[in-house]
């Protein structure tokens, strides 16, 4: 039985909970390959996507996930919400809850926003990314993508490369991967490694070529130019010289290494075009799996049990 009421982060998720989510997602994945991509599972349910930050992938993925389960999905973006009129976030959430949605999905630029909302309303909340804090559905779809290729997760080594400090994807992946018995190595310039991150049970390396040699998975992160503090980098050119994943660097890696990226990609900055398009790259599989993982979470949060999917 799935006991979680909300998905605010992967911090605290137990291994069996993650396995339940991934197993359920595996089952749901097939629905998206059917000619009629819809099951009646959540008919009559309402899901609100409340997005205060720009998003293509995640917002669309949540919308498609809800619709393929026959839920009514409403999208609200920051620019169309009452927050532009000065409405407090809590008031916005409580007003939406007054219309009796079954799940509120929230994406917000500030760390802790989803947790704050979940304390103020009864409706289940899915955190679709809050500041630099967590992005749990991304971590879960990353795990599903790795698992379906590698077979299992236990003992795998992962290198996560890029702007670690400003990445919610990293934090969610660290918790989820540690829970699944994986080893995590963070790679990036010291200006982008947050203080005391080792306390989360990870190692840190500054040199890409060395750091990727023994890993099973390389996760490249986008350099988030839109929220960059001007002192963190000398130039994108130098960043690319030091941290771009090229086929030359990949020669040092294991033959069966997998490459993932949460997107959107800055082509040629953190990852070379040919690497991005190589067969070791699972970037588009991640996007496909994102729909399945989100369907699974919606289903599980609304009372479905993992053994009654079929």
């Amino acid at each position: 039985m799935f006991k979680l009421r909300s998905i605010l982060g992967t911090n605290g998720l137990k291994k069996d909970e993650i396995v339940t989510i991934l197993d359920t997602a595996d089952t749901f994945k097939e629905i998206s390959t059917r000619p009629i991509k819809k099951v009646p599972t959540l008919r009559g349910r309402t899901i609100i996507n409340l997005f205060f930050e720009p998003s293509t992938r995640t917002r669309t993925s949540f919308e498609i996930a809800g619709k393929r389960l026959s839920a009514d999905v409403i999208n609200i973006s920051g620019s169309t919400s009452s927050t532009v009129k000065g409405e407090n976030l809590i008031d916005t959430a409580q007003n939406l809850e007054a219309m009796n949605p079954d799940i509120l999905v929230i994406r917000h630029s500030q760390s802790g926003a989803a947790e704050m909302i979940s304390r103020c309303i009864q409706c289940p909340v899915i955190n679709a990314g809050d500041g630099f804090h967590e992005h749990p559905t991304q971590a879960l779809l990353d795990l599903q993508t790795i698992r379906e290729t590698k077979g299992s997760l236990e003992g795998l080594k992962v290198a996560i490369v890029g702007d670690i400090a400003h990445s919610r994807v990293v934090r969610s992946n660290i918790y989820a991967m540690k829970a699944m018995g994986m080893e995590v190595r963070l790679v990036g310039p010291p200006t982008m490694i947050p203080v005391e991150i080792q306390k989360l049970g990870v190692s840190v390396d500054y040199y890409l070529e060395k750091a990727i040699q023994d890993v099973d998975v390389i996760m490249m992160l986008r350099i988030q130019t839109e929220r960059q503090n001007r002192y963190l980098l000398s130039s994108l050119r130098e960043y690319s010289n030091l941290f771009c994943l090229t086929s030359k660097i990949l020669e040092k890696a294991k033959d069966d290494v997998l490459i993932i990226h949460p997107g959107p990609v800055n082509r040629g900055v953190e990852i070379a075009l040919d690497v991005m398009e190589s067969e070791r790259s699972l970037i588009l599989n991640q996007v496909t799996n994102g729909v399945a993982v989100r369907m699974a979470l919606m289903y599980l949060l609304l009372g479905g049990s993992d053994d009654s999917v079929n």
């Binding site: 407090n88 976030l89 500030q110 802790g112 947790e115 704050m116 804090h133 947050p194 005391e196």
Partner: protein, 431 residues
């Protein structure tokens, strides 16, 4: 009107007194302090008698760091509500910071604050005026005129004086008026957008950190300047272990440096921020357990001279929001005593030392004519039961604002009566 406070444990650190005594107050002044029963009441009925058996009777507390928000932000606190909060916390004197609207950088604002306080007649209010005009950090305020209007010290609190040249000149200029400068020590270019201490917890929560070095660098800069300029430096709300060391060294060199600590900085650590409770957001931020340990050492060896609350009332609307957007600060007047007594229980200092840091020590630093029970002094008195246990309930605060992280804490030590100039300005309802 005379008041007799009987059978209390009278603690008067300035006069090295800690004994069971009766305290006689006549015409608002300390008339006599004698062994129990020795003082005779001549005219029965005209003397009000307070039985303080089992309680501590000491000079009223002095808080050199409060924000009363008037003028400008009366929805958070007024001088009247702030004074009521002070009285309820056992404080008989407070010094209000200048970050009001308009800023207290001119005679008329100082006069307004002081006359408002006098009209309400609850506790004594002293004004701390701005070092720079508009707290803008560009041009010195009229310190001479402000001092003449009643300002006792200068600070840009809430904002540090970032410009080195300006700070140097401020020290030099302030020498003419023999007034201390109080610095909120924070290198702003290191703390931009920060909202909590930088460390393992900020990394985990994904909140922009404020590194402890931002405090240390400015404390060191001010000490370095002071050596040459002369003047007096008082470091506000010290929160960093390294800064405590810097002050300790400066004092050893004989420099005129003093400092204060707020109770939350010796009680809480940045672990309290987990869960994003905005009542854990203050500046300087809650630091690590290591810093707290060194703060306690500083309190123990006297490096930290005084305890001041940094009482910073904020309305719910300023706190019930995303962590990053929330205002900095918490109310402190009504929780200072029980939190300080925790350190007495931990044997960090004696009860008498604790009281000293709340009474005679601030009076000495800021040259106030209070903080002791010398015969003939104004009778500012607090009577508290150090053993009374209760649960902190913010809804019962006298402050207009309820932004405290200590709501629901079980604590010991309750103020029963507060007297200012011999007049009872607060009495606990229940006990």
């Amino acid at each position: 009107m005379t008041v007799l406070i009987k059978n209390g444990r009278v603690i008067d650190p300035a006069n090295n007194l800690d004994a069971t005594k009766d305290v006689m107050i006549v015409k608002g002044k300390i008339e006599a302090i004698d062994p129990p029963g020795k003082i005779n009441i001549d005219e029965k009925g005209k003397t009000s008698v307070i039985d303080a058996k089992g309680c501590v009777v000491c000079p009223g507390f002095i808080d050199m760091h409060v924000h009363f928000r008037e003028p400008g932000f009366e929805y958070k606190e007024t001088i009247e509500s702030g004074c009521q909060s002070a009285a309820a916390g056992g404080f008989t004197s407070v010094a209000v910071m200048p970050n009001t609207k308009p800023v207290n950088d001119t005679r008329s604002v100082t006069e307004l604050m002081l006359s408002q306080a006098k009209a309400k007649g609850i506790v004594r209010v002293y004004a701390i005026a701005a070092i720079t005009q508009g707290l803008a950090g560009e041009c010195l305020s009229e310190m001479g005129d402000l001092k003449d209007a009643g300002a006792i010290a200068f600070s840009d609190d809430g904002r540090p004086v970032m410009n080195n040249e300006l700070m140097r000149r401020a020290f030099e200029y302030s020498k003419m008026f023999k007034v201390p400068l109080i610095q909120h020590s924070e290198m702003l270019d290191l703390t931009e957008d920060g909202c909590m201490n930088e460390g393992a917890v900020s990394t985990e929560l994904g909140l922009k950190g404020m590194p402890v070095e931002a405090e240390d660098i400015m404390v060191y800069r001010d000490i370095a300047l002071l050596e040459k300029t002369g003047g007096r430096l008082h470091v506000a709300h010290i929160s960093s272990g390294n800064s405590v060391d810097l002050v300790r060294q400066a004092k050893a060199q004989g420099l005129p440096v003093t400092c204060e600590v707020a109770p939350h900085h010796f009680i809480l650590t940045d672990e309290a921020v987990r869960g994003y409770d905005t009542n854990t957001k203050m500046s300087p931020p809650l630091r690590t357990a290591k810093d707290v340990k060194r703060i306690k050492e500083g309190l123990k060896d006297g490096t930290i001279d005084i305890i001041a609350t940094d009482h910073a009332p904020h309305d719910l609307t300023d706190k019930q929001c995303e962590y990053q957007n929330a205002c900095f600060g918490i109310v402190g007047l009504e929780t200072a005593l029980p939190l300080t007594l925790k350190l007495v229980d931990e044997n960090i200092f004696s009860l008498s030392d604790a009281i000293k840091k709340l009474t005679s020590a601030p009076a000495d630093i800021f040259n106030l004519d209070s903080g002791n029970f010398s015969i003939g002094k104004q009778a500012d008195v607090v009577i508290f039961d150090p053993d009374y246990e209760y649960e902190i309930d913010v809804s019962k605060f006298h402050s207009k604002s309820k932004n405290s992280p200590f709501n629901g804490w079980k604590v010991k030590g309750k103020v029963l009566h507060t007297l200012v100039g011999g007049k009872v300005v607060y009495s606990a309802v229940e006990h």
